[in-house]
Amino acid sequence: MLVNATLAHYSDWFYASAVVVYVLAMAFYLVEQGMTKTRRQRERELVAVGGGDPALADQVPGEPTEEPPARGRDRADRIGRMGMALNVLGVLLHAAAVLLRGLAVGRVPWGNMYEYDSAVCLVALVTWLVLVRKFDVRRLSAFVLLPVVVLLFLGGTMLYSTASPLQPALQSYWLVIHVSAAITATGLLLVAGVASLLYLARAGNERDPRRLARFASRLPAADVLDRLAYRVTVLAFPLFTFGVICGAIWAESAWGRFWGWDPKETCAFVAWVCYAAYLHARATAGWRGNRAAMVNVVAFAVMVFNLFFINLVTVGFHSYAGVA
């Protein structure tokens, strides 16, 4: 299979444009988030308007829309919507980059670490766009874009590999199934990880309003963030399990054993156990809330570790990173 260099070139170009557009979108979102009132300001306004129990206002998931339509709010909203427009544009460019890469090499566009990393980021952002329609969390988009931009930057520089066909070990339909499951799960879990991190900031602030006062008090209520993280994880965990099982099936037909404690396998197992621990923590008195969120953050850290450290540093069967 030959590589179409023109398409590969366009793919790279779209990739770079997507990163630039994401950075711009992030700037808009940050302005919107900065213009969102802190809790103290909101309470004052509510009192001034003469209504509402401030404690209650915090529990309404769609709280900002409950606010009196002030002029500042309008402007923030407009900026946020511009950020969203850019964000969608970025996702389209990004999707085009992934698609063109696939067309250029005539196979699924996730055969090395650069491609994998890019696809994970795409899944994370698409997930986020879907979530923004259901939860009122648009102004948090910058916090999802930040890790994505970092990952894309690392992908485009450190991990970059030119378009090339697959080595024989990867020529299998299991590549399509196993890796796409892993990519989707990882993308979803990235969003859940960010939500849990924000939860920790916000919950800390709710316990003691002086903690991270300027930052955390502008975030949505802790239980919204908690629910967000949980719902996404609940979706991602079976998918991740499915991905690991497919990996084992593939390993059986490629390497002669379905499980051999290869570093990548081990790390996936560790991450899986961490996510199981998160789900248990959510169901255990005294653990739900802060501790569960911490477990979720740790679990995602293990996923990132698995992607970078295991691929780049250790030696194992999974040395397909394609990083020169």
Binding site: P168, R231, I249, F258, V270, V273, C274, A283
Partner: protein, 523 residues
């Protein structure tokens, strides 16, 4: 004393089977597995472990004593694994009993005060009580329901749905248990072995440990009754991209197993990466390939011996290979005499030769222009075997003792030869290819797969299904105004920590209450 012990055991059991203990054990399991990804493991690569230990002095040795290079068979990892197993059993037993009770139980009776529930709605409708209850019954198809009549004439329906959640959860945990057990049994009875086979019609038979180059048995495998089968490798093709990266590998093979062994029937199979041969109980994998030079020795008395043995790749990208081919002199039975005249040809093989001065290296993995650069030694090889066989290198200590002496050093192309001082001629004929095969046997892996799939199914049920309850109370209105005959109240409760019941509840409640829209006073 005994009572104290019993109390201790009871407490220990209780402690072990709480959710918090399970959580901590899960965390320990994750933590315990991690070193296996970070430190070299004997099971994967013995040589790297030895190097790591020598490189890290006392620290390396301490880690060794603490079994950090055999994490998955270490005492501490097994302990966590075992405790988790016990905790799981202890947790599942009562849950299963509870589950069986619940499967037959009726939905709980309608609470007095439905407005206290998280979901609640209420309306007065223009229907009589029986009509409302009938409507509820049909709206709640698929729910488990129980009806009752209260003292004041009100009728209620209690409904519950989502029992499959707990079913899924139990299926998941039991399948997890099954998987762990199947995995452990597999470790006892599985084996795997590797062997290099020259692709010129050479046979390999799974007859015992000695037919393998390396063999890893499970604890209960002694190599005496392996599944009998034979393979014959007729040829091997590798194709490469212009960059030298491999594109496809393909071994042309015949095999016989089961009944074919007695009839002598051979069946054909194209062995490729990702497509193992699966035959009665065993799998055969293509895991590597390389070159085997053919050398012919013409002894001074005119006798000839040829040998083709694999020289394993030293550089995986150019397939520059290194190896040793040995010969025993013919017609020599006296061991002392034999030991003076053994021959070893050792050095490098390049499939596509390039030279830096006289230094041989390889430019491409395909055999476009093969050449070898060899040293020839004569003397005592330091092994007792009378067969010509492959060694990676010669025994250096024999060289140091002067019992094995270098006779020549030369680069050869196919057809070229070296002449030794005693008239022996050594000819490099050509290169053949060899394939590296792995034979694997694991009698429980199918069970592991079945349990894994059950886990997944259970998990999906457990995580997506909501356990929820709904109650309806229909009571005759106090003062019967026109079109307001029955007060209907609906209440709902999600029993599990799952958001998202709200929408379903609202839909149901609207349907149940919107019989007429009179006097709607919901919350």
């Amino acid at each position: 004393m005994i009572q104290g012990l019993l109390a201790f055991l009871r407490n220990a059991w209780r402690g072990l089977t709480t959710m918090r203990t399970a959580l901590i054990l899960l965390a320990l399991l994750a933590l315990g597995a991690l070193p296996g990804a970070l430190l070299p493991q004997r099971q994967l690569d013995k040589a790297r472990v030895e190097k790591y230990i020598t490189d890290h002095g006392w620290w390396g040795q301490l880690l060794d004593r603490l079994q950090f290079y055999d994490v998955y068979s270490s005492v501490w990892f097994s302990a966590v694994y075992f405790l988790l197993f016990v905790s799981l059993v202890g947790c599942l037993a009562p849950r299963t009993a509870e589950y069986l009770r619940q499967v037959r139980a009726k939905p709980v009776i309608t609470p007095r005060n439905l407005s206290r529930l998280p979901h609640h709605d209420r309306a007065t409708v223009d229907r009589d009580v029986d009509e409302v209850i009938a409507a509820a019954r049909s709206a709640l198809r698929g729910w488990r329901i129980a009806e009752s009549t209260e003292d004041n004439g009100a009728r209620t329906v209690s409904a519950e749905r989502g029992y499959l959640r707990e079913t899924g959860n139990l299926v998941f945990h039991f399948a997890l248990l099954g998987l762990v057990v199947a995995f452990a049994i597999g470790k006892l009875y599985s084996y795997s072995g590797q062997v290099a086979v020259v692709a010129t019609g050479t046979q390999f038979c799974n007859s015992g440990l000695l037919s393998y180059d390396s063999f890893t048995p499970g604890l209960r495998v002694d190599g005496t009754d392996l599944d009998p089968f034979c393979v014959r490798v007729n040829g091997f093709r590798a194709s490469y991209l212009p960059t030298g990266e491999a594109d496809t590998f393909d071994a042309d093979m015949d095999y016989q197993s089961g009944g074919d062994l007695s009839t002598g029937t051979w069946r054909h199979y194209d062995l490729r990466v990702n497509e193992p041969l699966r035959t009665v109980g065993d799998r055969v994998y293509l895991i590597g390939h390389g070159y085997a030079p053919e050398f012919t020795v013409i002894f001074p008395d005119g006798q000839q011996r040829s040998s083709t043995v694999q020289w394993p790749p030293a550089d995986p990208t150019t397939l520059l290979s290194a190896g040793t081919t040995t010969f025993d002199p013919p017609n020599t039975t006296d061991p002392a005499e034999l030991r003076k005249h053994q021959l070893a040809i050792t050095g490098l093989l390049a499939p596509t030769a390039v030279y830096d001065g006289t230094l041989l290296s390889s430019a491409f993995p395909a055999a476009f222009d093969p050449a070898v650069a060899v040293d020839v030694y004569r003397g005592d090889l330091g092994n007792n075997s009378g067969l010509s066989h492959s060694l990676l290198t010669i025994d250096q200590s024999m060289v140091d003792q002067g019992r094995l002496v270098k006779q020549a050093r030369q680069n050869l192309k196919p057809g070229e030869e070296i002449k030794l001082d005693d008239g022996t001629r050594i000819r490099f004929d050509k290169v053949e290819q060899f394939v590296q095969l792995q034979i694997s046997h694991d009698p429980t892996q199918v069970f592991v797969l079945v349990f894994a799939v059950l886990m997944l199914v259970g998990l999906a049920g457990s995580l997506t299904i909501k356990r929820r309850r709904l109650w309806i109370r229909a009571a005759p209105a106090d003062a019967e105004a026109a079109g307001e005959r029955t007060v209907v109240e609906v209440g709902g409760l999600a029993r599990t920590d799952q958001a998202g019941y709200g929408e379903e509840f609202t839909k149901l409640a609207t349907h149940l209450l919107a019989v007429t829209s009179a006097d709607r006073r919901g919350t």
